[in-house]
């Protein structure tokens, strides 16, 4: 919807495995499964875009199990980026990445900037590294700019986030020995980042996270949840219990709870032309305010 409002955007088409939640005015839409390579390639090559924004990344336990998420992400990346490479008009590719790509190995920088070494220590981080490497190889091969939006954990009223689900549980686990800080970002800011990156033909990675940080204990306190202190093996039990209650905790979220996840967002203004207005604490406060189910009333009664 943000791209529809941009004056520089001529024609716009989108591919997704789910239909759009809102009415699109200018954009066309194709409902395509991630595994249907043929249709994806046909649609993209026929459209022959100037800019491809690739956001088809499945975060483990957001909408799919880790294995399925890895397979779907790999399928989508191969077919979308592969099809993009066949387009003559292509000038720029923007891919979705995440701060998980830096990894949280012992001694890793607390707040890595875009030049920091990429050493993912979770399955999701390795998935993101694979996408960035594929896109970079494509850019070098056909000579187009490739930008990556390395976003923090995205929270929003519609976003299926494993971290958001865990924090909204009545009881929130936290590492009693470390309780490290992490940063999140609101979905609307990420959307703005993608639009700005496409507009500016971004040709390098940029970290997109809200300012400030929060720990799991602090988040639980803000949301008036019961904090559950955990040490070592307790986490395995907590993951099982949380999964049973509908909020499975993937590896990269456990890593964030143990080792933290921050990123230096100081280049956002220079590269994207804006800075997030909401801080991490604001986004966490909103997380607890968002209703579980958003009911949209009908515009007019039909019966």
């Amino acid at each position: 919807m943000l791209l529809e409002r941009e004056s520089w955007v001529g024609e716009l088409t989108g591919l997704d495995v789910d239909p759009p939640r809102r009415r699109l005015h200018r954009a066309s839409f194709e409902l395509v499964p991630a595994t249907d390579h043929g249709r994806i390639v046909d649609t993209i090559t026929k459209f022959d875009p100037h800019v491809v924004v690739h956001i088809a990344v499945w975060e483990p336990f957001s909408r799919a199990t880790p294995d399925t998420a890895r397979r779907l992400t790999d399928d989508a990346a191969t077919s979308i980026l592969g099809a993009a490479a066949e387009c003559r008009a292509l000038e720029s590719v923007i891919v979705r990445s995440g701060t998980e790509i830096y990894g949280r190995a012992r001694g890793a920088p607390t707040r890595p900037d875009e030049d920091a070494e990429l050493n993912p220590t979770s399955d999701y981080g390795r998935m993101l590294l694979g996408i960035e490497q594929t896109a970079a190889a494509l850019g070098r091969r056909i000579g187009v700019s490739v930008g990556a939006i390395r976003m923090g954990t995205v929270l929003g009223p519609h976003v299926p986030s494993p971290l958001g689900r865990v924090l909204r549980m009545p009881a929130v686990p936290f590492s009693v020995l470390a309780d490290p800080p992490f940063a999140v970002v609101e979905d609307i800011e990420v959307a703005r980042a993608f639009v700005a990156a496409a507009d500016r033909r971004l040709d390098q990675p940029v970290n997109v996270v809200a300012n400030g940080a929060i720990t799991a204990l602090q988040a639980a306190r803000r949301g008036r949840r019961i904090p559950i202190p955990l040490v070592g093996p307790d986490w395995a039990i907590a993951r099982v219990i949380s999964g049973l209650f509908g909020a499975p905790i993937p590896e990269h979220v456990v890593e964030a709870f143990h080792r933290g996840r921050l990123a230096d967002n100081s280049r956002m203004t220079e590269l994207l032309g804006f800075h997030p207005s909401a801080t991490t604490s604001d986004v966490i406060d909103k997380l607890y305010e968002w209703p579980t189910v958003i009911r949209v009333p009908a515009r007019r009664a039909v019966a």
Binding site: T110, D113, S175, A183, A213
Partner: protein
């Protein structure tokens, strides 16, 4: 049938209005106080301002620190302060907390371990990892960072200054300040003396500037330590940190 309680419900007397207003003001003031306690958060590097504040208050019970030269520090821009370090004296932490209390700015320090729970606690106090990119990131963001020279046993000697960390200041065009610290494990007195900004004497194009600036900072700290005063006997007694040299 007439409503006998109508007037009581509708008419609000001035006294009652004042009482209600006072009650609301008191309630909102209480909510602000309580809300602040419940709204803990950390900053971009994981520093917890409330924990730092509490630690400073505790530190004041133990040490009486005399701080001089804070007017030399920039009001808003970043700065790298290099202090002499005595073994086990935790000089960078002590200096960062003392400067936070004196200037009101969030002062960070270099040299936290990356192992829980000590590393996690030290990060809450403003600790950064001893990495060039970590220090450069903080300086680029306009933070004040304290780093220690290599620890020495003698309280009046300064160890080597890590030129790689000085390189972070050079790369981010941040001012480097030498500072001398003195504290006593037995007394209450402690002292932090910040010297004038150290500028390289020659313009260099390569990494030599880091080495020369590190040497210059080391010399300046030694000079500041020599100027701190206190009795010097020339005997092994000088090796004992008996006095904070200047504190009460």
């Amino acid at each position: 049938m007439s409503d006998t309680t109508y007037e009581a419900r509708v008419i609000t007397l001035p006294v009652e209005r004042a009482t209600t207003a006072a009650r609301q003001t008191a309630a909102s003031a209480a909510a602000r106080q309580v809300g602040a306690v419940g709204a803990w958060s950390t900053d971009d590097w994981g520093r917890d301002p409330r924990l730092v504040e509490a630690t400073i208050r505790l530190g004041r019970l133990r040490w009486n620190t005399l701080i001089a030269g804070t007017e030399r520090l920039p009001a808003r821009a970043g700065a790298l302060i290099v202090v002499n370090a005595r073994r086990f004296a935790l000089s960078p932490i002590f200096t960062a907390l003392a400067l936070t209390g004196a200037t009101g700015r969030a002062v960070r320090f270099v040299g936290r371990p990356d192992v829980a729970p000590v590393g996690a606690f030290v990060r809450r106090l403003g600790g950064l990892l001893e990495r060039t990119d970590e220090v450069a990131g903080a300086l680029r963001a306009g933070e004040v960072v304290v780093m220690g020279a290599h620890p020495e046993v003698h309280p009046r000697r300064v160890g080597r200054v890590d030129h790689r960390l000085i390189g972070a200041a050079v790369a981010t065009r941040t001012s480097v300040f030498p500072a001398a610290t003195a504290s006593s494990p037995w007394g209450r007195s402690a002292r932090v003396e910040i010297g004038a900004v150290a500028r390289p004497t020659r313009r260099r194009r390569g990494p030599l500037i880091e080495l020369e600036l590190a040497d210059l900072v080391e010399q300046r700290i030694q000079r500041l330590l020599d100027q701190l005063g206190g009795a010097q006997t020339g005997t092994p007694l000088d090796w004992l940190p008996l006095s904070g040299m200047g504190g009460d």
